[in-house]
């Protein structure tokens, strides 16, 4: 039973994105925001390049647990080419997914994000999954340079 639960959390998509994170690089000439989880030491820098209202390029560097790194990776692949509003909506959707709020969730919209559904069974890991998203949102809003989970 415990093996199944773990497989729910560490799905193949997550393990893959942890080992081979997509968009794992810096972007020169981009907005950069740092995100921390001070409780465990997860630390990422999100780079964001906009083209008007559209996310032209997004990338990240940093270090942390498998959930946080995979989340940053899947996020970067998912939001590239989307508008700011679409990215915001995806954030809300993702947040609902990982906190177990399944009302009105659209599987089609989730795509690869669905791999994180298992996080809702591990409340201690929610902050890992959402760190990159919080950091991205701060970058999109343009207000601060640093974000923490606390």
């Amino acid at each position: 039973m415990s093996s199944t639960d773990l497989r729910e959390l560490y799905q193949q998509v997550i393990l893959d994105h942890n080992k081979n994170p997509r968009n794992f690089r810096e972007i020169a000439d981009a907005k950069r925001v740092d995100g921390f989880n001070p409780l465990c030491g997860d630390h990422y820098t999100i780079f964001l390049q906009m083209d008007g209202d559209t996310i032209k390029d997004v990338a990240f560097i940093g270090n942390g647990c498998a959930i946080s790194k995979a989340s940053a990776s899947v996020m970067s692949a998912t939001v590239k080419g989307k508008s700011k509003d679409e990215a915001d909506r995806l954030f809300e959707t993702f947040h609902k997914l990982v906190t177990g709020d399944t009302s009105g969730l659209d599987a089609a919209e989730l795509g690869r994000l669905a791999a994180f559904s298992g996080v809702s069974e591990f409340p201690a890991r929610v902050k890992c999954a959402t760190l990159a998203w919080h950091t991205l949102r701060t970058a999109l809003e343009g207000s601060k340079d640093t974000v923490t989970t606390e």
Binding site: M1, S2, S3, D5, L6, L9, Y10, L15, N18, L39, C40, G41, D42, H43, N63, G64, C65, A66, I67, F122, A124, R125, C128
Partner: protein, 413 residues
């Protein structure tokens, strides 16, 4: 007594029966509780003593003239005597009950520190302290424009006594040092450090949170000026701890918190303060907590702290040896003299993920920075996994830990 004889006498299976929580399952598996540096489990005798207090004895202390008040007061003050004996303090006046180690340190900082530390003075702590023995001093230094000086450790996590001695200056008012590191397990040479500090005219506060549970503590022999520890780290309840202070020091210190019980008389013109130790115990104390803590200390004394220490050292050696069999596992904190605490990193796997997999196997370890961020930075790791052992842990549990770590590697590598 030979090592074999004492090992035979130490019946860990019997001891485990005394701890009800150890029988429970976690996620369908037997609980393997290896997070004792965070908090320890409680023997039935401690749980029963607290229940008995509330069922038969509960009343407020020190003030009533009725029977229950006398009974409660006697139990509370007897607990103070138990603590005094356990750490071989001279007098009950030197035992102040607090909420825990952190509060004890803050008491010294605010009461002794504010009065005795001036601009330009120095406070010397080590590179491997817990935040509770860093931040209060930082607050004091900020307030008083004093300087916080850090004694370094080598890569094994050991204090460099020569460096420590060199850092003791004419301005060093007080030294703060942990008896043992909660993150690395290092047992610091506190007796020597105290002698060096005293020769320099500096006081010493020992953070004993990881001292008392793991070894015999004799505050007169150590000659420390202050010693702080927590009940819940030594098989007692949370919310209770002790500040030991030499009588003449406590006598000279101004009151800390004001309120009932720490006074002799109150008028709006003038208030006079109570004698030691009550001067530092304002308000209704954690009566049940103190009584429960004493019951925990009695339990430890009954098993024998030296026996517990020997058992834990055996576990430390065994677990260390077995953990090092794992490919890519590195132990952080390899001092020659350690308490049974093992911090480790596993190549390619973040401690958080290790902790989650272990949790699924029923194993409780701690992952993160262990309230010692400067220490983590010194050892160049963002976080570690930490297994910490207590009197009721077994070699089988160390084996489970190793098996589960192999499981982690399967999942992630």
């Amino acid at each position: 007594m030979s090592a074999i004889e004492s090992a035979v006498m130490y019946d860990v299976a019997r001891i485990r029966e005394d701890f009800p929580i150890l029988a429970r399952k976690v996620r369908g598996r037997d609980l393997v509780y290896l997070d004792n540096a965070a908090t320890t489990q409680k023997p039935q005798s401690v749980i029963d003593r607290i229940v008995r207090y509330y069922s038969e004895e509960n009343s407020n202390v020190h003030r009533g003239v009725h029977y229950l008040s006398e009974v409660a007061t006697a139990a509370y003050e007897q607990s103070r005597t138990t603590v005094k004996r356990f750490i071989n303090a001279r007098d009950e006046k030197e035992i102040v009950f607090t909420r825990g180690t952190t509060e004890s340190i803050n008491l010294v900082v605010q009461s002794w520190g504010r009065k005795n530390v001036q601009a330009g003075d120095e406070i010397l702590i080590t590179a491997i302290e817990h935040h509770s023995n860093i931040v209060p001093w930082q607050l004091l230094c900020e307030e008083k424009h004093a300087r916080l000086v850090i004694a370094p450790v080598n890569d094994r996590g050991e204090i460099l006594l020569d460096d420590f001695k060199r850092l003791l200056s004419g301005r060093t008012k007080i030294v703060g040092v942990g008896h043992a590191s909660n993150a690395l397990g290092t047992i610091n040479p506190v007796k020597q450090m105290i002698a060096l500090a005293h020769a320099n005219g500096s006081l010493v506060l020992v953070d004993g949170a990881q001292g008392v549970p793991h070894m015999r503590v004799d505050v007169q022999d150590l000659d420390c000026d202050f010693y702080a520890f927590s009940g819940h780290k030594v098989y007692g309840p949370t919310g209770i701890g002790v500040l030991y202070g030499k009588e003449k020091l406590l006598e000279a210190m101004p009151p800390w918190q004001g309120g009932g019980d720490m006074i002799l008389s109150v008028s709006f013109e003038k208030t006079t303060y109570n004698a030691l130790p009550y001067k530092f115990e304002a308000g209704t104390p954690n009566i049940a907590g103190a009584i429960g803590m004493a019951a925990g200390l009695d339990y430890v004394a009954q098993i024998g702290i030296d026996n517990i220490a020997a058992h834990e050292q055996d576990l430390l050696q065994y677990a260390t040896r077995r953990l090092l069999e794992i490919d890519g596992l590195r132990i952080i904190g390899t001092a020659a003299n350690k308490a049974a605490v093992i911090s480790f990193v596993l190549e390619g796997v973040h401690p958080h993920d290790i902790g989650t997999v272990l949790d699924q196997d029923g194993i409780a370890i701690r992952t993160g920075h262990h309230c010692a961020q400067p220490l983590m930075m010194r050892f160049n790791v963002p976080a570690t996994g930490r297994a910490s052992f207590a009197m009721y842990n077994t070699r089988e549990e160390a084996d489970h830990l190793v098996d589960s770590l192999r499981h982690v590697i399967e999942v992630f590598r």
